[in-house]
């Protein structure tokens, strides 16, 4: 079980990354950066579809 400080630090880091990833995703969708650059920034896009398309 993570300590309170570890929990806080992890969540703060995760949210900062989330915000950065969102900006990168917007830039990617507008063609301002490539998919490779998106991948290099560690942005993970999801998700595989389930069910019928």
């Amino acid at each position: 079980m993570a300590t309170r400080t570890e929990h806080k630090n992890h969540v703060v880091a995760a949210v900062k990354k989330l915000m950065a990833d969102k900006k990168a995703a917007i830039a990617y969708s507008k063609g301002e950066i490539s998919k490779q650059e998106l991948d290099d920034r560690g942005v993970k896009l999801g998700m595989p579809l389930q069910g019928n398309i």
Partner: protein
Amino acid sequence: MIEELSLECHYKVTFNTSDYSYGFKTSGGAEYSVLFVDASSVFFNTRLEGSYCYNIVISKIKSGDGLKDKGVKETIGAIVDHYFSDPERILIFTCEEEDGKQSVRKKLFDMWFSNGTLSHLVKFNEDIEGSEATYHSSILFHKENPLGISEVIKSYQETVKILGQTK
């Protein structure tokens, strides 16, 4: 590869299998892209840890005629409904305030998801009190999420509370 989806909505929705993005064009000439960015690590040390959690990113990549278009709301609703074909999935939405348009974005998001066809989903809003600003955020999840409505909300609130403690 770009595939056309058979979603029940106003505009034809395409799906890009290389980046899992949805796209559609409006009759007014606007083009939208909807991406889902992995956000699973946000709910660390909560009941939602390890769940399929994504941040929905909706971008208008080309402007149209600027007229109000109800078809956009309906189409985004259909895409979100498609996402929740797996009721275990979670969506979060955040509004950035760098350009001062955070409240406008929140209003737009609330409008998009005040959709009668999404009554099987739960939307819960919570402001994140950061050290420098307040961020609007929302969580969207299926009523049949195996964790249960109250547990999902509780995990979300725990996370938001943690962020508020960073002041």
